[in-house]
Amino acid sequence: MLTLSAAAAEAPRPQPKSGIEYAGSDVRALQADDFGNPGMLWVARGEKLWNAPAGRSEKSCASCHRDAPTTMKGVATRYPRKDAGGGELLNLEGRINQCRVQQQGADTWRYESEELLSLTAYVAHQSRGMPVNVQINEANRVNFERGRDIYYRRQGQMNLACTHCHERNAGRKLLADTISEGHGNAYPVYRLEWQSAGSLHRRLRACYFGVRAEQPAAGSAELVDLELYLASRARGLRVETPGVRR
């Protein structure tokens, strides 16, 4: 098996291209239309959840974080990240669930539940148009390296790594679809195939399924590490949440 050196993996890449640039004109038009974009239904629901008291504290997100368009602006560009005190690497979904348990005294939301998707979409939407800007530092370097290893590791019965489609063959056809560079800057997205909004982890699990590999659970450490590596590849791309994809 061919192993790629870390140096090769970190060689400068050309400017990343968002998945929307590989989409057809109909999908682009749907994403650009703030009323027609079906993902905005999830954002609208997220706004209601933001203001709804939850848990034993009977506090809503707004009780502490106030006005989301101000306080949540740019937050999604920095995730996944670790708290200043360390702890585990959290993506937006993980951070929301942590807040629910620690601050609101509520139960966590199941990954991929309508509630978690909606609130994640609402929070990420506040960063729309801002460039992805995750920082790799001493605190998260281990996660970054683990994520990068997954990205370059062949797996499944198809014996493929992420890189084989999304780096070496981006822009080429896979059946009827154009392969994108696999960036997560538009998630949660409304995917036409799903007829619903979905998280990045749902999409990643679909990729694992596609190469016939064992799927890690949504929200698992493996997928959050991979999400961090993907975010580092997508640095500079603008957040599109809620994106629309085929």
């Binding site: 009323f35 027609g36 079906p38 905005m40 239904l41 999830w42 609208a44 629901r45 007829q195 619903s196």
Partner: protein, 106 residues
Amino acid sequence: MLARVQVPAQARRGDIVTVRIAIQHPMETGYRPDNFGRRIAKNVINTLTCRYNGVEVFRAEMGSGVSANPQLQFYVRAESSGEMVFDWVDDSGQRGSERAPITVTA
């Protein structure tokens, strides 16, 4: 049921205004099996109406060929200030309603 409506807040009398409504709904076709192979019952929004100051100006009857989270668009002549009221019902009997004000100037 969550919905978003788009009606211009203001219009001049006689203007043709664009009205849009999007509803969050799975629009189950009745043809899909679940993970255990059992058929998922058909459940679509079968009727949607829009009344403008009490007068029905639009009615849609939908079936299993309409996508999830349907979005409808139609045109109405602005006659007088008031309210547009949207009502819909799905096969499970669940109802939804949404309203939007419109101010019409001479």
